[in-house]
Subunit: 441 residues, 2 copies
């Protein structure tokens, strides 16, 4: 087995990642709110020795929930129940630095890490959907740069909270009567531009010290944030070249900050349609696309590109010149990615719709198990990925195909573990447990 | 079996409720952060057909953690993992209306209710400990009246969020392609003195519609809040007379607001030391008191009464005239309760220390299983309680004694169920599932 091996997460989404997944006959729409469904899914991923399950999140309701399973399972509660049903697999929760209080967030992660015995990861986002603002008393979603400014301060604060109990602070010596060595518990006394937090946290340091820091924004601000703070990065790329550029850029930025680039894993999304022949895989993909609804996609294009189109424009070209490329929207990496598709492929509106239906801009591959494994190996060996965020088109069937047919090939090629050799998410990712940062004096 | 029967919760506290519980030889201090310990405890309570397990909470670290197990397990993560290990028992999480965002809190409870299939309860508190303020960017803990003012608005907002999806809004019809009937999902458009929240929630209405509303403040403001909003009230009383007065007052307030007083359960705390003889029970209690540490109690008196005493004053009388009875402190019901003990019993400082060590002001009883059952029956039949929040001095042993020895007596007397006849916390408490309040037009 080669020294460097793949990291694989299962990105969980109610129903699956294709926007019409919930309509597919292999999906049971009655189980989308059933925790047993997600526990079972995590057990399957654990049986395949996946590094982690990952839950996305946002504190608002998507405007196109009429046509797709776009409600939001709350990640902390959901993953805590998943933790109780599993032993080894990592648990990555998305949480916003824009719409949470750092003290509350630090507690949720420390507790998740304690109860899972060291399996928590934090996908740090600034929240993409602007409609969240209205749920938190704001007139406007803070602009991109401002969100990242708060994010930087936020990460500093929660890091200090997680480190506010030294590892040796919990004594619990029945004889002497010392429960905690309060000389080893420290206020953090933070006072900054966005936040003021005294601390200390009200919980001993957790098994991993801190959850694994994951980041999922690929804009300029997002990259520089990731280079400084992230230990794993989720990203979306359509082409090997795009993936390589991003990978090289991010590793270089981390190195320039004095970090070991090997401790910053780049994990693009991949949504695989698997068939016993390539034709069968493509037919399966087409079957999903036929279940899509134009109203859903038109709303997506409105939100993503600011394009206000109607159903009778579906078979015309995408009106490129109506897309607003400046300002807030232009900062987003997902926006840039869609713009690249339009410029490269010149699709019709319907073509673009189908292009995005699979995984909202993430790479969709359709092929035999060998072909899918080849794609994965190529990106992994050609400097575009340290592993993948696997986004099955539908669940659980789409994951089972991957686990049963692609994973054995990856193993045979020495690219993926056959069993866990660690018990924490840091262990699976090859990351050290961080020492507590020194206390303020 | 008589129509009216007891409701029993297990109030879970790391180690147990006696402040020295963690030092007792029957307690394993290495398991206080082990989720398996709490899952096992909940399974024991479920085997005894208890209504619920209850977790207290506060977003700050207690100043006397040096001497006692006063860290805070985060209730949502912890109870979600407990939910995964149980089937029927209710799960009551304490959460603050002062230090959380209503949108985030509404999601956590809706998710807990979904994943537990209708077992969530919310202990609504305004947060007692003033040091929380520093963890949330505030100079001062908002004053009592202001906290309750926000609490009233907060409950209105989260109620509307929980009702923002009508029960029929989730359609998930694969054929027609309608996932959610957006005509049945409503913005709440709240704009008030403390909060602005647009909604809707990003999750379908939960099995119970809303979590059970529990309240735990007994001050004037607390009572009027409870009369208006609560479905169960946790309270602390030392004497039957005190319990009866509170019970009658609260039921009358609810009736005056046009509510059915039967749908407002009053559940005082009780901390039982159980022995095969009364002398044995008293000896057990004394054994715990011997493990207490003066430094801990002196800090408690400082915080609770504003008294700054030293160890050499332990055997003198409580300096009653130094206690500040006006202002903020004087509003708190726990303060009043301690003042009553001092006035009634004229204890020494050490005596008061031991009086409070058992359960922080809750009633401590020591006796045979029959005597403990008698006490419970007396309060239940004499108009002081609809049930109890059972606070074992140590865990799990102190609970096992209660479940194995007292519960069978209560059953033999027809006072407590032998098995669950419902599947939700509302069901156990005899409360109806609320219809969604009508949407704003
Ligand atoms: C795999 C992946 C998952 C993501 N999940 C979320 C999410 O759950 N919530 C969210 O607000 N943003 C999420 N994002 C990030 C947003 O899509 C968006 O990129 C970000 O909010 C803005 O950052 P950027 O402009 O730096 O890319 C995710 C991104 C990727 C690549
Ligand atoms: C059984 C019980 C449990 C309580 N748990 C909490 C708690 O977990 N967190 C909290 O801030 N207050 C809790 N309280 C309430 C506080 O003790 C205090 O009464 C409240 O914050 C102020 O309300 P009051 O002045 O109306 O009594 C609890 C009260 C009781 C009776």
């Amino acid at each position: 087995m080669s020294a460097r091996t793949l990291h694989l997460n299962l990105f969980v989404y109610p129903g699956g990642h294709h926007e019409a997944a919930w309509r597919y006959h292999g999906t049971d729409p009655d189980r989308l709110l059933d925790i047993g469904f997600y526990q079972d899914l995590a057990r399957r991923a654990e049986a395949a020795a996946f590094d982690a399950v990952f839950f996305a999140d946002g504190p608002s309701l998507a405007d196109n929930v009429r046509y797709a399973s776009r409600f939001r399972l709350e990640p902390f509660t959901w993953l805590s129940a998943v933790a109780a049903a599993t032993e080894r697999i990592g648990l990555i929760a998305t949480a916003s630095t824009t719409y949470t209080e750092p003290y509350n967030l630090a507690r949720l992660f420390a507790s998740l890490d304690h109860l899972s015995r060291g399996r928590a990861g934090w996908n740090i986002v600034t929240t993409g959907a602007p409609q969240a603002a209205g749920n938190f008393g704001l007139d406007e979603h803070p602009v991109h740069a401002e969100r990242y400014d708060r994010a930087r301060e936020f990460v500093e604060v929660v890091t200090r909270l997680w480190d506010s109990w030294e590892d040796e602070a919990l004594v619990a010596d029945q004889k002497s009567g010392v429960f905690a060595d309060t000389d080893r518990i420290h206020e953090i006394g933070h006072s900054g531009r966005h936040l003021r937090v005294r601390g200390p946290l009200n919980l001993p340091r957790s098994p991993q010290g801190r959850p694994v820091y994951v980041q999922a924004g690929s804009s300029e601000d997002g990259r520089s944030f990731a280079a400084a703070h992230a230990e794993a990065v989720f990203t979306a790329h359509q082409t090997l070249r795009g993936g390589q550029d991003f990978y090289a850029d991010l590793k270089a930025r981390a190195a320039a900050l004095g970090r070991d680039p090997g401790r910053l894993l780049v994990l693009p999304g991949i949504s695989p349609f698997i068939g016993s022949t390539e034709a069968e895989a493509r037919a399966l993909h087409a079957e999903f696309d036929e279940l899509t609804q134009p109203e859903y996609s038109l709303q997506l294009l409105r939100r993503l590109l600011g394009l206000d189109l109607t159903a009778d424009q579906l078979d015309g070209p995408v009106p490129r010149r109506l897309i607003e490329t400046e300002g807030e929207r232009g900062n987003g990496s997902r926006f840039r990615l869609v713009l690249d598709i339009i410029d490269r492929e010149q699709p019709t509106v319907r073509g673009l719709m189908h292009r995005l239906a699979g995984a909202r801009g993430h790479r969709v591959v359709a092929g035999t198990p060998e072909q899918v494994a080849d794609q994965i190996q190529e990106w992994f060996e050609q400097g575009a990925a340290d592993g993948f965020n696997v986004m099955p088109p539908w669940l659980p069937g789409g994951f089972d195909l991957f686990a049963d047919q692609v994973v054995p090939i990856l193993r045979a090629r020495g690219l993926f573990r056959t069993a866990y050799d660690a018990t924490t998410l840091r262990g699976h990712y090859g990351l050290p447990r961080p020492a507590a940062s020194p206390a303020l004096r």
